[in-house]
Amino acid sequence: MSQESMNAQTGISLANLEIFASTLETIAKADKDIYAVTSDSRGSGKLVSFGQKLPEQIIEIGIAEQNLVGVAAGLSSMGKKVFAVSPACFLTARALEQIKNDVCYSNNPVKLIGISAGVSYGALGSTHHSLHDFAVMRAIHNITVVAPADNFETAEAIRQAAQAAQPFYIRFGKKVMPSLSETNTQFEFGKGRVIKEGKDIVLIATGEAVYPALQAAEQLSTENIDAAVISMHTIKPLDTELIARYAQKCKAIITIEEHSIYGGLGEACASFLLQNQLNKPFKIMGIPDEYTVTGSQNEIFSHYGLTGRGIAEESRKFLK
């Protein structure tokens, strides 16, 4: 078991960002072919320590995301295990062509790390939000798309991605994320992680929207509503087998993500369910197609009902 999951079990939770940085530093100390490539993002990526301790293994590109990804591809083609670290909002927009051509199409196994994802940047506003990233990445062949929920999933995602010779996009935020489960210590790309069993309704969430889903399930259980909670950390490839199982078992399905309601986890699930005749009452919760309300990340979540209370309320509607 990793230090990170031990921390979680003893109640020490950190931001996924910090776990990413400490995990990367640990594995890079043991493998000099692991590189971090940054776009003036050492501070925001919590890689200052990495840079001081492993100066030969960090490469600063400056605020030039296209070059960041191209250089990462080049390093990767020479056998380096490259983590390209940049805010998700810029990495997956400005450098999208480099991701598509130089990482995915050319099959250079870069690990793209989108930090401060979703609405992590809060009141800095929409230029700094990434609500499109699942949508665009899903439509590009040859990339595994991951939004780890808690510290355990983050540590495992980084560790396992480092050993896999294929492209990854892994995104997370910077607020403290409590451990989701003391007992479920399974992590496998492409396999959903059942955090809580249930049969009345299934809440399929990803990334930092899983915790509020779990809070909703806890609320609902006091009303004798038995909600299952799945952390679908891997958006692509989606664990359709698990989704089918819970869709058959439960009376309704709600998906929750820190992403547009378009093109992300929700629509990925909906597409699978409808094309496989698994027609249950279904709702996608996320950020709607409007100018995002201004405020902190928590305020934005609250405004759009992405909280324990909001998700419980939507759940009750299906089960009345």
């Binding site: 250089v71 080049g74 099959n107």
Partner: protein, 269 residues
Amino acid sequence: MMTINELQLKSKEYRRKILKYIYHAKAGHTGGSLSIIDILNVLYNRILKVSPETWSSKTRDIYIQSKGHCVEALYVVLADKGFFPEDDLLTLCQYQSPYIGHPTKKIKGMEQNTGGLGHGLSICCGSALAAKKDESPVKVFTVLGDGEMAEGSNWEAFMFAAHYKLDNLCAVLDYNKLQITAANADVMGLEPLDKKLEAFGWAVKHIDGHDIDALVNTFESLPFEKGKPSFVIAHTVKGKGVSYMENVLKWHHGVPNAEQLEIAMNELG
């Protein structure tokens, strides 16, 4: 080692083959393939330490064609060097053929899937830096087009290469002065390019991109300045070698008809 004379004969042979396969496929980037071919000839026959036998070696030299569309030129050179049977090129652009209109790694000898302009130099920067980190003798080369130079990503890479003192990196401009719609100077001019690149921290040389002797001497003198990446402004002619194609816009991707092909083959005889 091939002599200058042998290389000059090779260039003619390559030009005939470029036209042969473009004619057969009924598609291709004709003008640019004819302008780049002397550069590729010298690189693959005199400079690059790479061959079919050393293809998977970690110390092979690297060539990435950033102006990916002039792939026909690269195909005929790689075939000639034995990376794949030349007959494969009869499938150029056909259904399910790996020989498409831009380089892909499916073809032995091709490093990256280029075609989107402005990507090659960044990738080369990564490769060159990796080589420096490994204290490896690997040399990295790329060729860009003049239209391509408008892509901002190139200039990010120019900054990077100078910042990291990548003197194992050489970029070449196939400066044939024409892009698709019009002359480069009219679309989005580059001049004064040498001053711009020098300001970005590169060591720059101008040569005639069809002068085999100059190409050999220039590449053999790399790096031009220790601690700086090198840039070769190779002045070329789009459609070089075929009288009715030279400097004519429409031959960017024109396919000769049978009569035109015969005229061209005679001129290149």
